[in-house]
Amino acid sequence: MVAQTLYDKIWDSHVVADRGNGEHLIYVDRHLVQEVSSPQAFAALDQDGRKVRCPEAHIAVADHAVPTLRGDRPFAEGLAFSQVERLKENAAKHGIAYMPMDGERHGIVHVIGPELGFTLPGVVLVCGDSHTCTHGAFGCIAFGIGASECTSIFATQTLRQRKQKTMRVNLEGGLPDGVTVKDVILALIAEIGTGGGVGYALEYAGSTVRELSMAARMTLCNMSIEAGSRVGVVAPDEKTFAYLEGRPLAPSGDAWKQAMAAWSDLHSDADAVFDREVTFNTADLAPQVSWGTTPEHTCAVTGQVPDPEREADQNSKSRLRKSLAYMGLEPGTAIRDIPVDRVFVGSCTNGRLEDLRAAAQVLSGRKVADSVKAIAVPGSAAVKIAAEREGLHEIFLSAGFEWRDAGCSMCVAMNDDRLAEGERCASTSNRNFEGRQGKGGRTHLMSPPMAAAAAVTGKITDVRELL
């Protein structure tokens, strides 16, 4: 047999039909449905009088538009409310399970999928959200799709797709103190660029990856899309299986044994050939911070804002000038001297329990600077409950953070959480595009401990000095 990559194996096992010219019809096992990308998809389904083919393949949950200050506050009108209601109605109409906003199963799609055991190794999982690549941490092919493709999943459970090329990203050397997987993925994007992964499915491998927890692997895979790739995978191992066993929707009993047997082949063969390989040593990495308006505009916290005049071509010069003007930064400014107004800890990138723990470790016994408004937003209700069980909320609250309910929050600014014009935020989210966190808002991407450090000092800070 020809040696295969993990991606090839999963892909090949999902080919329903060969449409010729390199196009396959592939079967989709799992679909997460959220409020933003689904209304038009359901509308198209209804318009053509079609039914959801396989209701058990979908879970619906509202995450982007939900308020994160809930409690007694009314959420009963407005566009965001209508969107959440529409999802609920569409789910009920089509027999899809809907996880309500106030329940213990609620959360960001990419946090609850794994938590519930809906995400499994070897499956094809999609969602109308580009950060669906997060689930690849479990050794499945998971990718974001548009609303029209969501309609196709509802009606046919399949998609016409072309197989991607494969790129293995070897991460070696482990992580130094104060450095997290978020720093690794930011540094990788700075190195290969936001277009570097276009056309490729990434497989993360190497000693650094094997040592990572499942939460960290999710953070890694999550930002594959920021490197241009729709798909990022990590081969499943004992950590993966230990994470999943006993989860509510994971197979159990004999089914678990059968699944484990099927999953034993989910790795790239030793002599598998990748279309591209990159190796990246993480042993000497410093904490990373983005300074511009694309994730590739990232450097070490010890670095400086670059000078557009040093760029080789006119296009790069003007792009950089524009970015710095938007960010309100002067060339040559030390990253560590940049003051921040807001801090956001959360999102599908860094809203899991160990992210909150890492931030809390820095915050413990310290206070948020007077000039800073900081919020911590757990990625799911389950993360919130677990964090409170170990008292993390008390650390955040006594430091001066707000402690919110789960949702996408300030990562996407489609809810009440957003930056005001010109405000600067240390954020654990995934995109620093213009306006991403609110019109005119300025985003600096970083890890949870780095964001916590910025909250404490009121400016971007090398967290290693606070450890």
């Binding site: 329903v16 039909a17 010219n21 196009e23 019809l25 079967y27 096992d29 933003v36 990308s37 209304p39 509308a43 053509d48 396989c54 058990e56 879970i59 538009a65 965001a80 529409r86 027999g95 399970a97 996880m99 309500p100 106030d102 329940g103 213990e104 199963r105 809906f118 499956v123 580009s130 974001g144 799709i145 548009g146 609303a147 029209s148 493709e149 196709s152 009606a155 046919t156 459970q157 399949t158 016409r160 277009g195 056309g199 899309i225 241009g228 790739s229 509510p248 929707l249 197979p251 089914a255 678990w256 099927a262 694309t294 296009n315 489609m414 595009f433 213009e434 306006g435 991403r436 019109k439």
Partner: protein
């Protein structure tokens, strides 16, 4: 879906790299539930910014073709990024490269994304900046400039057919591969019974929390 055969128009030059989905369609407008009439929100910040925006500047305000740089549409999966430009009348985007999800979404909405590089792209950029009319002929896979120069472009044959015929992809899948899907599902059920969750289990999980919540 509207068929795509030939499009003749001036091409609006938006010669920047990495115009992302949040620039094309800011997230706050994603709360709108319909897909009609979204053109008014396209490039909202740019159009309301200090400098005049190319798509509001004659003759480009009637352009059906957009010429841009690398990695156009990078970022989110929002199909609104295609709906919004399609609503403005853009039928073809010529770029050095595209964000992948944006690229795929174009074909579902009768919008042709064309990847060009090198001298060909430079010629198209010049034609766009000079406000010359250019013609896109999908059948011939060519871009004709007013100088008479003809530039060939690549497109996957299946996607070309989708655009040329304005096909409904879901209907096509069910018609052409309905039986293959059924056979796949039967095989999956027999070989991988653990894949199936069971709808009762899912609903029970959703209801369980209803009681708690």
């Amino acid at each position: 879906m509207e068929k795509f055969t030939t499009v003749k128009s001036v091409a609006a030059p938006l010669l920047e790299n990495a115009i992302d989905t949040d620039v094309i369609f800011p997230a706050r407008f994603l709360l709108l539930l319909d897909r009609e009439g979204l053109g008014r929100y396209a490039f909202s910040e740019r159009r309301n910014g200090p400098e005049p925006f190319v798509l509001d500047t004659p003759p480009y305000d009637t352009a059906k073709i957009l010429v841009t740089g690398e990695n156009f549409g990078t970022g989110s999966s929002r199909e609104q990024a295609v709906w919004t430009i399609a609503d403005l009348g853009i039928r073809c985007v010529i770029a050095r490269s595209f964000g992948e999800i944006f690229f795929a979404n174009c074909f579902k909405n009768g919008v042709l994304p064309v990847r060009l590089g090198g001298d060909d792209m430079a010629a198209v950029e010049r034609a766009a900046e000079a406000a010359e009319e250019i013609t896109i002929d999908l059948e011939a896979q060519s871009i004709r400039l007013s100088s008479g120069r003809e530039i060939r472009f690549d497109i996957e044959p299946n996607l070309k057919r989708l655009l040329l015929l304005g096909l409904d992809e879901v209907g096509m899948i069910l018609a052409e591969d309905g039986d293959a899907i059924k056979a796949f599902e039967a095989r999956r059920k027999a070989d991988q019974p653990w894949m199936s969750i069971g709808i009762e289990k899912l609903h029970a999980l959703a209801e369980e929390q209803d009681k708690n919540g």
